[in-house]
């Protein structure tokens, strides 16, 4: 596993298909520029995001994680994002306990029309994560696991 020593953070954004993914597409349509660091993973609903995905990302050396969905009350599946909200309030504390700065993790509500908000969030989170520097917390562990796999 090659985790580069650059200060060019890798950020993964789990975006729900109905709101934030659409909002991100709209940001594209509007040619709103944001940093290349944000990589979107499409999920049906922010409620689909298992905390395990986030832990895996941080373990693998991902520098920042975003979970984005519809605004509370606007969930395409009516209640999914309420669970997201509760789950990731707890998640922040778990991350802190594990020695990961909670500033690396952000849950945001961005609707399909909020292209500007998506751009701003991407910029803001990237800046914040860049300031925190590379996530090296589990690098040794991941490296060992990888070599054990081989």
């Amino acid at each position: 596993m090659s985790v580069k020593e650059t200060n060019d953070p890798k950020i993964i954004a789990f975006c729900c298909n109905w709101c934030t993914y659409t909002g991100a597409d709209l940001a594209g349509l509007n040619r709103s520029h944001y940093p290349e660091n944000v990589h979107i993973v499409r999920v049906p609903c922010s409620g689909r995001v298992n905390p395990q995905f986030i832990l895996r990302a941080f373990r693998n050396g991902c520098d920042g994680v975003m979970v984005c969905g519809c605004h509370p009350g606007d969930c395409h599946y009516s209640t999914g994002n309420y669970f997201t909200r509760r789950r990731f309030t707890l998640m922040k504390r778990l991350l802190e306990y594990n020695g990961i700065d909670p500033g690396r993790f952000h849950a945001r509500w961005i609707s399909g029309s909020e292209a500007g908000k998506f751009r701003d969030t991407a910029e803001e989170v990237t800046a914040m994560v860049r300031k925190l520097g590379p996530n090296t917390r589990y690098r040794e562990y991941a490296r060992r696991e990888m070599s054990a796999d081989e």
Binding site: H33, E36, I40, C45, R48, G80, F83
Partner: protein, 659 residues
């Protein structure tokens, strides 16, 4: 090993200008599992699609990654294309390198790097794609419309005219709803009964419409295309098969009880038709006030009925029918202002009426045959105060929303008073006057010209002084206290959802908003659908609205129903949850989190060591599951997974990014 084909699109120059497509293709070739990688100017075009098809044939590809525009744009296009090939349409991943890369980045080197990462993620996910097959469910070509007001009638007529069977269910003994109670309708002032009763008769006589009056829904099972609805027909005690509706029984019944239709402004017998133009035009017995049914005495109606229709032994009867689609048209009620507004007397003063009571009072077929008189002494009022927003726009006491129709019917009430009793002083207390609608503002202007006095401000207190009702309030435009000595007060009260909506919504799994109105699937783009497939909304069950909007809403719901019922079967998305039975511990966390009641616990035979045991495990109803995946994140053992977005697939994507 999988044989993945990667196809990178230039999208003319949309992608190629910012992303070095050739480099992306070259790096894709190096990825594990990739058997072929190529590029083309327009992948979505006919030759582009042909190129993919040829490559599948030539290289024996079993899955495809297309790096192009957003999957929201062309995922369905490419899935359709794959239908003609050996590759399953769901063995497709799209790397969004246009909307989420080339269009939002400017640095070509960095954008290319990102495109390569996005392709890598899609390839990693595709490697774990599995063939999925859309199943189809048959559709029962019948609709159930719940609620027989103007919304329900309109929806039922439209569906029936399109050639489908409809059951129109109403808990009252007659269809007609609130519109049948109204006198005139704004802004045209045409008589409400004259335009609604022909529609009621049409609905009653339509060969495709079955009326289910005095009926209520008690239970429902199933899903879109196949709802099994259990309906209770409340005992009518009159055999409607032979009754001709002659009305003799009504004239001979000795009981006098408050008329619901006239909102307590008049009396009705225990055997009654809801109103003279009722459809069906046959009486029922009110079991709570009938002497025979309550005390065992009387029996007059049985004696006078020439056809022997009276059946005191009639009982509530339950039956189950299957419907393909459901329309909620349950309408509204007026808020119970008496419980909320003690300062207005809490209902002690007989000369204080609600809007609907005033409608009955001014209605030619109402208790006073349309004469506007005080219920207390039968005198014509000289001064009338109309108070708007009673319960509306009042988050402290009532509801925070605007009930939308009140501004207009308050103007109409003022117009009717000034028309029937010239010289009467009419004060209208308002917060704002809202008249958005065709001809509405003009009507409001005309009412002011007719002499209605609009006073901006709420009424703080109403009390009785002699035979006057004293209304204390403030004119906020003048900044002065005002006091009106009124002979009659009309309260334009807030609309609230019909009673029983809670049970009905829970039965169908339909969500309600903060004010208990039924929640539409999308406030702008799906206003007549609910998030439950096959359940549609018509009229005020979704929120306050006036008659034109209700009728438009109902017709829109009918159009949705018809487009559903026109299909004989329906394809369902195969991207739904699946349970690995051996991993499921039967905790039921998924059952609780599922917004569609698609997951139930079922008992299976299992073995612990040599012992046979029964244990519960989760089971997913593929007709109900919408594929949100909430259950997968709630599952403690990882037994439940979402096809198309499996845990393993998302983890592969995460791993691929972090490489």
């Amino acid at each position: 090993m999988s044989k993945i084909g990667v196809f990178v699109c230039h999208c003319g120059t949309n992608i190629a200008n910012t992303v070095d497509v050739e480099r992306a293709v070259a790096s894709a070739r190096e990825l594990p599992g990739v058997a072929f990688a190529s590029e083309y100017k327009y992948m979505c075009s006919e030759p582009g699609q042909q190129m993919i098809k040829d490559a599948i044939e030539e290289y024996g590809l079993d899955r495809v990654v297309i790096a192009s525009c957003s999957p929201r744009m062309h995922e369905t296009t490419f899935r359709k294309m794959l239908k003609d090939t050996k590759v399953n349409p769901y063995m497709l991943e799209i790397a969004n390198i246009r909307e989420q890369c080339s269009w939002v980045h400017t640095d070509k080197a960095k954008a290319t790097e990102k495109a390569i990462r996005l392709i890598r993620m899609s390839v990693a996910k595709a490697a774990r794609d599995e063939p999925l097959f859309a199943s189809s469910i048959p559709i029962e070509k019948r609709a159930l419309v719940i609620g027989g007001g103007i919304a329900g009638i309109q929806a039922a007529l439209d569906i029936a005219d399109a050639g489908h069977e409809v059951a129109l269910l109403e808990r009252e003994p007659s269809i007609g709803g609130k519109m049948a109670m109204l006198d005139k309708t704004f802004p045209t002032l045409d008589c409400s009964a004259c335009i609604s009763t022909p529609k009621m008769v049409d609905a009653g006589a339509h060969p495709n419409i079955k009326l289910l009056t005095s009926c209520e829904v008690v239970k429902t099972e199933g899903y879109i295309g196949n709802f099994q609805v259990t309906i209770r027909r409340n005992a009518r005690y009159v055999n409607h098969d032979i009754c001709t509706g002659c009305g003799l029984c009504e004239t001979k019944c000795p009981v006098k009880t408050d008329s619901e239709f006239n909102h307590g402004l008049s009396k009705r017998p225990a055997i009654y038709k809801l109103f003279p133009q009722a459809v069906p035009s046959k009486p029922v017995i009110d079991k709570n006030s009938c002497l025979k049914l309550t005390k065992g005495k009387c029996g007059v109606c049985e004696k006078v009925c020439p056809l022997g229709c009276i059946d005191y032994a009639d009982e509530d009867r339950e039956f189950t029918e299957t419907f393909g689609a459901i329309v909620f048209a349950t309408g509204y009620e007026l808020i119970d202002w008496t419980a909320l507004y003690g300062e207005y007397g809490g209902g002690r003063y007989p000369d204080m009426l609600t809007g609907l009571q005033f409608e009955r009072l001014v209605n030619a077929s109402g208790p006073t045959e349309g004469h506007i008189v005080r219920p207390s002494d039968g005198k014509e009022p000289k001064t009338v105060a109309i108070v708007k927003c009673v319960g509306s726009r009042d988050p402290k006491k009532g509801k925070s929303y605007c009930s939308r129709a009140c501004c207009m019917y308050a103007a109409k009430h003022a117009h009717q008073i000034l028309d029937k009793l010239p010289g009467t002083r009419v004060f209208i207390f308002y917060i704002d006057v809202r008249t958005p609608g065709k001809g509405y503002e003009e009507f409001y202007d005309q009412t002011r010209k007719d002499g209605a006095i609009y006073v901006r401000g709420r009424i703080s207190k109403i009390y009785k002084d002699g035979d006057k009702l004293v209304c204390n309030g403030e004119d906020t435009l003048l900044g002065k206290q005002v006091k009106v000595m009124a002979d009659m007060v009309v309260l334009e009260t807030a609309m609230t959802p019909s009673s029983g909506i809670e049970e009905l919504a829970t039965m169908f799994g339909v969500a309600r908003d903060v004010n208990d109105w039924i929640q539409e699937a999308h406030p702008k783009l799906r206003p007549v659908e609910t998030q439950v497939g096959g359940v549609f909304l018509a009229g005020t069950c979704q929120g306050p609205r006036d008659i034109p909007d209700t009728v438009a809403h109902a017709s829109a719901a009918a159009a949705k129903v018809v487009s559903l019922l026109n299909k004989s079967e329906m394809e369902t998305s195969p991207m739904i949850s699946v349970v690995r039975r051996e991993h499921c511990c039967g905790c039921g966390a998924c059952e609780k989190i599922c917004p569609y009641t698609a997951i139930t616990l079922e008992e299976i035979d299992d073995r612990v060591g040599a012992k046979r045991v029964k244990r519960p495990i989760a089971s997913v109803n593929s007709g109900l599951c919408q594929g949100c995946g909430a259950c997968t994140a709630a599952c403690r053992t990882g037994a439940i997974d979402l096809l198309g977005f499996r845990n393993a697939q998302i983890l592969e994507e995460v791993d691929a990014l972090c490489l």
